[in-house]
């Protein structure tokens, strides 16, 4: 059931998509990042490269995206409003398209208070909805926020994030509608552990007709220790782990928590697949990226189901293994074709 390269093509085909989250290294060595990406080649449709996730400094997302593409997986470049004003956001977006990054995920970003530089300036010149709006104007109208024309229009698939579980509950689907109105074509969610609550949110999403104009990828991931469980229950704002999941993880011996966590994750993926309007899952397993293939296998998502040939950089249009990703005279992001603008 190969459908050609890329996250957008996978979603347009109606097949269930899989993306995974990769946190770039705190260092200048691309090898550490390559090691995280390589096991996912051919198994996922794209990898998100985080942008100073949790307000902790890491290798920039654009560079991590290039490393991931060279390693053979299509990147989704995350871009937050926390560290850049509107000039830098727009120039980084142009840069992403120029070097062939086909997907961007535009988000507000965690507050610096939670990171490794709590003394930093929180920028937040735009919010995520405004950034989505700016990006779509750049791509579809060829204009900057200033109104100035672009010489060449960028061509990314534009994504957003949403947390279905945080208050105000009644506003969360509407907030995604705002993002879709502004420009979001796909959305990845916060971790889903509370499947009934997620299903309720999805019902609202469908009532708004959002599933018809914005692809939804549900965030999932394994809880691999009781320490992680405690942290996720109390230390991560906006994350809800139901008592039943908590009970199951505490009911097994300490050395079996990780396995039980992965089993729960696979079960949740199975339940999510049954919910109408869900187009895929986004697997987040920070520090455990090498375990993602086993989770996908357990969930029945690890078949030879990814793109044609699915191996190596040539699958990413424009990127040539071992050579510069900037062939002379290549126009911006030719890989997207004309499939896109809805």
């Amino acid at each position: 059931m190969s459908t050609g390269a890329g996250l957008r093509a996978r979603l347009d085909s109606g097949a269930f998509a899989v993306t995974a989250e990769i946190v770039p290294p705190r260092g200048a060595d691309p090898e550490a990042l390559r090691r995280k990406v390589t096991p996912l080649v051919g198994l996922v449709d794209a990898v998100n490269i985080t942008d100073n996730a949790g307000a902790h400094v890491r290798m920039a997302s654009w560079a991590g995206s290039l490393v991931a593409a060279e390693a053979g997986v299509e990147p989704v470049m995350q871009l937050t409003c926390r560290d850049r004003n509107r000039l830098a956001l727009q120039s980084d977006l142009l840069a992403a398209s120029a070097v062939g990054i086909p997907n961007v995920l535009l988000m507000t970003g965690d507050h610096p208070k939670f990171g490794d530089h709590p003394d930093a300036t929180p920028v937040f010149d735009l919010d995520s909805v405004q950034l989505l709006w700016a990006a779509r104007a750049m791509r579809d109208e060829g204009r900057l926020l200033s109104g100035r024309a672009l010489s060449t229009r960028p061509a990314w698939f534009i994504g957003a994030v949403e947390n279905p579980f945080a208050p105000p509950a009644g506003f969360r689907a509407a907030r995604l509608a705002k993002k879709a109105d502004a420009g979001a074509e796909f959305a990845q969610t916060q971790f889903v552990f509370d499947v009934p609550a997620f299903a309720r949110w999805m019902a609202e999403v469908r009532d708004l007709g959002l599933d018809q104009r914005c692809r939804i990828l549900a965030g999932v991931g394994p809880v691999r220790s009781l320490r992680a469980l405690d942290h996720m229950r109390t230390g991560v704002p906006g994350l809800h782990i139901p008592d039943e999941v908590d009970r199951r993880l505490r009911a097994v011996p300490a050395d079996r928590v990780a396995e039980e966590g992965e089993r729960i994750c696979a079960e949740i993926i199975g339940q999510i697949r049954e919910i109408p309007g869900v187009n895929g899952v986004h697997v987040m397993a920070p520090g455990y990226e090498h375990g993602i293939p086993a989770i996908l296998e357990r969930a029945g998502l690890a078949g030879p189901r990814r793109r044609d040939g699915g191996t190596g950089p040539e699958a990413i249009g424009g990127f040539q293994g071992g050579r510069s990703p900037w062939p002379a005279g290549r126009p911006a992001a030719p890989t997207l074709g004309g499939t896109g603008a809805d």
Binding site: R82, F114, W133
Partner: protein, 147 residues
């Protein structure tokens, strides 16, 4: 109460021509709105469509709704002692049947207007481009604003 009418427009026009009077008026606006809403004098007031909860008091300055980090009890993730501005805005909007107000797309703020009187701008019609109707095709460049 503050909706533009001929008297307010006249007042705004007069203030715009009298720098000293405008300074006094702006200072008065800062004191009253600061006391009532925690106003930060961004100069582009959204209070009428945010249930009079000021989004400039959000640590992330979010103008288009809450972030994903709101606590289960509705607390701000950055300052847990405070309630999320957008939770307050939503509760008020729901009570008043004005949730549609929150769906309005708020364009990026013009930082040149920080510290200026939002009332004068509002009465002079400078805020007409500040937000767009929900569901409208919102792509478009920032319109030029009067200085």
């Amino acid at each position: 109460m503050l909706a533009p009418n001929a008297a307010y427009r006249g007042l705004a026009g007069a203030l715009a021509r009298a720098p000293a009077a405008l300074r006094v008026f702006t200072a008065a606006e800062k004191v009253t709105k600061g006391a009532a809403f925690g106003c930060r004098m961004c100069g582009q007031c959204t209070l009428p469509v945010t249930g009079y909860a000021c989004p400039a008091t959000c640590p992330k300055q979010l103008r288009n709704g809450p972030c994903g980090g709101v606590g289960a009890d509705g607390s701000c993730e950055v300052f847990p002692d405070l309630r999320c501005v957008w939770v307050v805005a939503y509760e008020r909007a729901e009570r008043e049947g004005r949730v549609a107000d929150l769906l309005v797309f708020q364009r990026p703020v013009d930082h040149r207007r920080s510290g200026q009187s939002a009332w004068v701008s509002y009465w002079r019609g400078d805020d007409e481009t500040l937000w767009a109707a929900p569901g409208a095709r919102q792509v478009g460049a920032m319109p030029e604003r009067r200085r």
